[in-house]
């Protein structure tokens, strides 16, 4: 009997890490624990970052003022995901949206629900759907998804710089 040569073996690997968020992101995560979206404004370009890091990457200066942004916003662009991947927790197909929360100058990638996938549009007005309060933790995942607001779509000119 001739044995097949062994050309490879499958060995699962993992990477566990402790995330140390730093000052600005810590405040953001504390805000999430209380159901608030907290950003920070750059003293130089006046842009509001959500979530904030230590400073503005465009200007290279430390952030100043803390700004609470709304949990309503505009869906500026999106993908309809129809592909399976490791650690997926959402049924396919789903809409992964880029949402500019009102008052923020950055976009966040958020799940879009509450509307058939083929009716999702750029410019759609949306609102965060939060997990039940007793499940809130120090994480952006407290926002389970965004769902459509009963409002007319935003004008393209008003959000095109975020696309």
């Amino acid at each position: 009997m001739t044995a097949e040569p062994i050309t490879g073996i499958v060995t699962p690997i993992r990477l566990d890490y402790t995330y140390t968020p730093g000052t600005s992101p810590s405040q953001f995560l504390r805000g999430m624990k209380e159901g608030r979206i907290l950003g920070r404004r750059c003293p130089s370009c006046a842009k509001v970052y959500v979530p904030p890091r230590g400073g503005c990457p465009m200007c290279g200066v430390e952030f100043a003022e803390e700004v609470r942004v709304a949990d309503t916003g505009t869906l500026v662009t999106f993908a309809v995901v129809n592909v399976n991947f490791a650690n997926r927790v959402i049924d396919l197909p789903y809409v992964s949206g880029e949402v500019r929360f009102d008052g923020s100058d950055t976009t966040s990638m958020v799940l879009v629900q509450g509307i058939p996938v083929d009716q999702v549009r750029m410019g759609m007005r949306v609102k965060a759907h939060w997990l039940p309060r007793d499940e809130w933790d120090f994480t952006f995942a407290n926002i389970d998804y965004v769902e459509p607001l009963d409002e007319p779509d935003a004008d393209y000119e008003s959000y095109k710089e975020f696309v």
């Binding site: 990477l15 370009c45 662009t77 129809n82 991947f85 490791a86 997926r88 990638m109």
Partner: protein, 387 residues
């Protein structure tokens, strides 16, 4: 020109495939390096230093693989430098090697880039979980699909633009024996009917997952003049980056890409890239990036790149052939993909590209990008010695 002259003395690559289970990573890079040296008419003894690049280590789960690859690359007792710039790494690795020669540090540098995607799961490595974001990003396609949707809206581009790019690149790949995907039966119908993975991206519009390596020998003016083989003179190199999370960042037409193109043209003495560049290999992992980069690279006005796809300008026999080798859409050993772009244009101006040679190519652009479109690396190579 910056510093002393440098030239590509030889190139080599592996036949890119889904799974090279007949060789280890070391065997894979050795194969490409052997071919580059043979093409240059040199041996490992002629090499002064080795510069190696690959995409993030988690893509194979081998941390700092350059340490164990030193032996396979003949780098024992020689300087060995590793470069990290995500998907653009194949380009920036070649540029680091070039700079070592231009600075007069070394006479001949071997530069190598690789990926052995079959040994792990790059999509898993790209789908990380951090407390600031939802676990939604399904690999690179999940990240780039909303940006492509943004381009289609901004440029008001016809929806079949992406299909045209794929058809062209996959037909070009049939002329390239090293390309991973050889699909002689490829048709528009087949592309349109392929599943929508990340709407607006269809399966046929995505790059394959490949095992492969690429290598080049970069030499000084003296080394190039002494070579009996055709060489490609390096007329300009540039790398640029920008903050991934910057507010107001244009992800469709990134500032860093525009700056990088401007810098590489300035160094190469190019004022009208469309007229002066004979052909280009640009990093297009998803079909729509061809028109997007045509604009970013200054070949087309903003919002008009798709027209060059539709009117045949970028075809192999067009005015500005793009991705003659079949491009990233036909082979994607991630870390090597940028170097393959650089290597392919070097072969074009050397006149050694084979069946996908562009007649009379004298000046060509190699381009690579990486990460969330925040890293760029480019070079311009020419048949003639820079003045």
């Amino acid at each position: 020109m910056s510093g002393q002259l440098a030239a590509v003395l030889g190139t080599g690559q592996t036949k890119h495939v889904a799974k090279r289970d007949d060789v280890s990573i070391a065997g894979l890079v050795r194969e490409a390096a052997d071919r580059a040296l043979e093409d240059a008419g040199l041996t490992y003894a002629d090499i002064d230093a080795v510069v190696i690049g690959k995409a993030p280590d988690m893509f194979e789960g081998v941390m700092m693989p350059e340490l164990y690859l030193a032996e396979a690359l003949g780098a024992i007792g020689k300087p060995l430098i590793r470069v990290h710039t995500a998907g653009s790494v194949g380009g920036s690795t070649a540029i680091v090697a070039t700079h070592l020669v231009q600075a007069g540090v070394h006479e001949r540098v071997l530069t190598v880039a690789f990926e052995k995607q079959s040994e792990s799961n790059a999509m898993w490595a790209l789908s990380i979980k951090i407390p600031f974001s939802q676990p939604l990003v399904a690999g690179a396609g999940g990240y780039f699909a909303p940006i492509i949707r943004g381009y289609i809206r901004k440029a008001d581009a016809p929806l079949d633009t992406g299909f045209q790019v794929v058809l062209k690149d996959r037909l070009n790949a049939l002329k390239n024996p090293y390309a991973h995907l050889h699909q002689p039966d490829i048709s528009m119908e087949q592309i349109i009917e392929s599943p929508l993975l990340w709407d607006p991206i269809r399966y046929a519009e995505t790059c394959p997952s490949s095992d492969g390596a690429a290598a080049m020998v970069i030499g000084s003016e003296r080394a190039a003049d002494a070579s009996s083989r055709p060489v490609a003179w390096i007329h300009g190199t540039a790398v640029r980056s920008e903050p991934t999370m910057g507010a107001g960042r244009d992800r469709v037409n990134p500032h860093a890409g525009r700056d990088c193109a401007k810098a590489v043209y300035a160094e190469a003495g190019i004022t009208d890239p469309f007229r002066e560049i004979d052909c280009a290999e640009i990093y297009v992992p998803f079909s729509w990036f061809e028109p997007m980069w045509l604009e970013n690279l200054g070949f087309a006005e903003e919002g008009t790149g798709w027209k060059m796809v539709h009117d045949g300008t970028t075809a192999l026999d067009g005015d500005l052939p793009i991705n003659m080798s079949g491009g990233v859409l036909s082979s994607n050993p991630i870390g090597a993909s940028g170097m393959i772009r650089f290597l392919e244009v070097a072969n074009q101006v050397r006149g050694t590209a084979g069946e996908h040679q562009v007649d009379g190519a004298r000046k060509a652009l190699g381009h690579a990008y990486g990460g969330g479109s925040q890293f760029f690396a480019m070079w311009v190579v020419g048949k003639d010695k820079p003045k």
